[in-house]
């Protein structure tokens, strides 16, 4: 599209690129913010239904679907309070740090084939690394608030997130190993076909490790039963005790978009990414790899698939939250160090062995579509594979920190 602007409209190159960069950034930002609004509304409705209530019913019609927006306006109008003893600079910056980390991680998450903010060949690594920075804002907030409850919340969060990164990393390594690449787009691509190609069903070990991933993901985004950093019955509100108004809502948005992100990551890594359980498109002889209208339409369906899977993940997290009591800090650490980490390690070894014993896979149903293993990082094979095509045609990879083909 940038080329279109340059060639047809005649814009200067730099302007075209910056326009596209801005558009992509706006798209991702809106996905985050809009997603957060939707999820906050959904959380209210889901919790209400779980608890025999109705939830919001008035604002914006019978389902109260404008409730989050109304809340947002209320938060905007609220006074931005800061405790007298707070470290002003850090206190003000902390919510944005959290939010930016969450936002930056979205850049690496593919929403459909090649619909990605920036296609990195270390995609998974990047997403996990950046997501881990979210805790940074929380610690700063806890420290800067000059409140003991905030400090407790921050220290809990730090201990918890740093610990859970270990099993989380091990879980993520397994799909990377199966795909032979850290490129999220290729990982998603390799799970094309019937749902049996999804990595969660690849072998028993990946099935187990998927659930370990779910546990660790819930813990790393601080959702119940691991929401110790903001445990309201113990720490008042934890790290955001002293926050109000817009800054508080930034934490809130960061939390919800992180939930969405880890769910999306789970979908890409384990649940086939943008590929539906039944390869309708490839059965019809369509491909999402082509640049024409059909290709774009198929990709849009894929986008729907991925968003659906990610939303399902978020809904499950809500379900868990409104059902289970909260764990204690030592029990959270025990869960991580004594259960998740060893299980993840064993499953990792198991998956490795499996790959060695059954290199072609056991449940290898020939679907007529691309088979797993056919797609490799192109530069090793030379031209031929689709991955190669994507890498070797520079024009199709707009390279900029935030330029995306989402815009196409």
């Amino acid at each position: 599209m940038a080329e279109y602007l340059i060639q047809t409209v005649g814009l200067p190159e730099w302007l075209a690129w910056s326009l596209m960069a801005g558009l992509s950034a706006v798209l991702i930002l809106n996905l985050m913010a809009g997603g957060a609004l939707v999820f906050i509304w959904a959380e209210r409705k889901v919790s209400a239904r779980i608890q025999d209530r109705l939830g919001p019913t008035r604002t914006g019609g019978s389902f109260g679907w404008l409730q989050s927006l109304a809340d947002g306006i209320k938060l905007l109008a609220k006074e931005d309070l800061m405790p007298a003893g707070a470290d002003g600079m850090l206190f003000r910056v902390a919510p944005y740090v959290s939010f930016c980390a969450s936002f930056a991680a979205f850049i690496g998450l593919p929403f459909a084939f090649d619909m990605v903010g920036l296609r990195l060949n270390v995609g998974v690594f990047y997403v996990v690394a950046v997501l881990g920075l979210e805790v940074f804002g929380v610690i700063l907030a806890g420290y800067a608030s000059a409140s003991k409850w905030s400090l407790f919340g921050a220290m809990r969060e730090a201990a918890q997130v740093v610990s859970y990164e270990v099993p989380l990393g091990m879980c993520i390594v397994v799909p990377v190993m199966l795909a032979g690449t850290m490129d999220l787009v290729t990982i998603g691509e390799k799970q094309a076909g019937w749902f049996t190609n999804w990595y969660v069903f690849h072998d028993p070990f990946t099935f187990v490790i998927f659930w370990v991933y779910v546990t660790c993901a819930v813990a790393s985004v601080n959702r119940a039963p691991f929401d110790l950093a903001e445990a309201e019955s113990e720490l008042v509100a934890g790290f955001h005790t002293e926050y109000s108004g817009l800054r508080w809502s930034f934490f809130f948005m960061a939390e919800y978009s992180s939930m969405f992100l880890v769910s999306g990551l789970a979908a890409v890594l384990f649940l086939g990414g943008w590929n539906g359980p039944i390869p309708v498109a490839s059965l019809l002889g369509l491909s999402d790899g082509t640049g024409d209208t059909t290709g774009v339409l198929v990709r849009l369906v894929g986008l729907g698939n991925l968003l659906g899977k990610a939303t399902l993940g978020v809904l499950i997290m809500m379900w868990i939250r409104w059902t289970l009591p909260r764990l204690r800090i030592d029990q959270v650490m025990t869960t991580c160090l004594k259960y998740c980490t060893p299980i993840a390690a064993v499953m990792f070894a198991g998956a490795m062995t499996w790959l060695w014993v059954f290199p072609g896979g056991v449940l290898d149903i020939d679907t007529g579509s691309r088979r797993p293993g056919e797609i490799r990082e192109g530069w090793l094979d030379g031209p031929g594979g689709r991955g190669a095509a994507a890498v070797s045609t520079p024009s199709s990879v707009p390279n900029n920190a935030a330029v995306a083909e989402v815009a196409e």
Binding site: P225, E234, P325, R328
Partner: protein
């Protein structure tokens, strides 16, 4: 070898050198059940000392009692344990009746049993739901309040109020039940019985719940008695004492002919008259889980009592009797009577000087004594355990501060 070292008092363990921190939990804190202020001295997450500060809800009820007549004091008793106001009314009425030597009619007796046991269910529902809230799960709270609302609806039909009833009063009750009430009550009980199983699934037997409560805040029976604990807190420690069975005759006479089990672990097991969930392996007698479980059992026992009371009450043909006059003179003398309220033994001490207005009124509240054991229980626990322990004591600040 290592055992020897462990026991050597001269050897101490130390970790990172840390400073102790004073943290104020409350008076405005989500899990202190009202306006309780706890000053925690913590080393990191570990609480080394805890000091409760009370009195934020002190309304001079005892002083007021010296200025109003015995019947006029009834509304003030409502405001003590406002979650089980019926039981408070009953305690005061019985104390005054003991002083005056009154005997209520048979019908009033059964109605009092019915109402006070029903009120016990309502109170324990709050205790259970709020305990879930303390442990970080929100839904059981609303499930509990859903059922409690139905009980309050029934109370409203009977006396017109939903929280502060002033229904049971000196000499009887202010009104008889409206027609059809008993049928609705039975319908509620039938509907409520399976709901208890849901509570057990969501809380009592939930793995995380058990992890959070089993072995936490263990209160030995000796300590419980020494601290004057009563009610579910005492029975949770395995002390078999229930004023409905062991109390003074004027109170136990009310329960004459009623069959119920005292919810306490005797001979290594809880009563077996109904199917209850098994005690988890981690639970130690006297810990938070047992205190919670005793409450859950009492709900079932109270349901049995309510059913029995419904039968007896409907079998009674006599009059309900009239309450005493508002300005009825009290005889000279003093009485003390403890009744078994949902939170524990509520005692009223009353000194009459021959006028209608008591010379001295004293309310001994169960939560007051139950809370005083908190400092002992919380020694060395984690911050997250503090709400768990406070919640398991099931205190009501209105009763503590009076």
């Amino acid at each position: 070898m290592s055992q020897v070292i462990d026991d050597d008092p001269r050897i101490i363990e130390f970790d990172v050198r840390t400073d102790e921190m004073l943290v104020n939990m409350g008076p405005q804190h989500p899990s202190t059940h009202g306006v309780l202020r706890l000053v925690l001295r913590t080393d990191g997450e570990i609480v080394s000392e805890i000091e409760p500060h009370i009195g934020y809800l002190h309304r001079c009820a005892e002083k007021i009692g010296e200025n109003v007549s015995a019947r006029q004091f009834i509304p003030y008793t409502d405001r003590m344990d406002y979650l089980a106001a019926m039981n408070m009314n009953l305690g005061w009425s019985l104390a005054v009746e003991k002083l005056m030597g009154l005997q209520v009619t048979e019908k009033a007796r059964h109605l009092r049993v019915l109402i006070s046991e029903f009120s016990r269910i309502a109170s324990h529902l709050v205790g259970m739901g709020a305990y879930g809230l303390d442990l970080g799960t929100f839904s059981p709270f609303l499930y509990a309040f859903r059922e409690r609302e139905k009980i309050l609806d029934l109370f409203e039909e009977a006396c017109g109020a939903r929280l502060t009833y002033s229904y049971i009063t000196v000499g009887g009750l202010t009104a008889d039940l409206p027609p059809g009430w008993l049928a609705r009550c039975e319908a509620f009980l039938d509907q409520f019985e399976p709901v208890i199983r849901e509570y057990h699934t969501l809380l009592t037997t939930n793995a995380i719940f058990v992890k959070r409560t089993a072995g936490i805040g263990v209160l030995s029976p000796e300590m419980a008695i020494n601290y004057g604990c009563s009610g579910p807190v005492l029975r949770g420690s395995g002390v078999d004492q229930d004023m409905r069975r062991d109390g003074e005759s004027i109170y136990t006479a009310m329960y004459d002919g009623y069959a119920f089990e005292v919810a306490v672990m005797k001979n290594g097991h809880y009563p077996q008259d109904h199917v209850y969930p098994a005690v988890p392996a981690d639970a130690v007698l006297g810990d938070c889980w047992h205190r919670f479980f005793v409450r859950m059992l009492e709900v079932v026992q109270s349901m049995d009592l309510v059913r029995q009371a419904i039968d007896r009450y409907s079998a009674c043909s006599g009059p309900l009797g009239e309450p005493v006059k508002v300005a009825e003179k009290l005889p000279k003398g003093d009485v003390y009577l403890e009744t078994e309220c949902p939170k524990g033994q509520m005692g009223f001490y009353l000194v009459g000087d021959g006028t209608a207005i008591p010379w001295r009124v004293r309310a001994r509240s169960s939560s007051f004594s139950n809370l005083s054991v908190l400092a002992e229980l919380c020694h060395g626990c984690l911050i997250a355990d503090v709400p768990a322990i406070v919640g398991s004591l099931d205190i009501v600040m209105g009763e503590i501060d009076r």
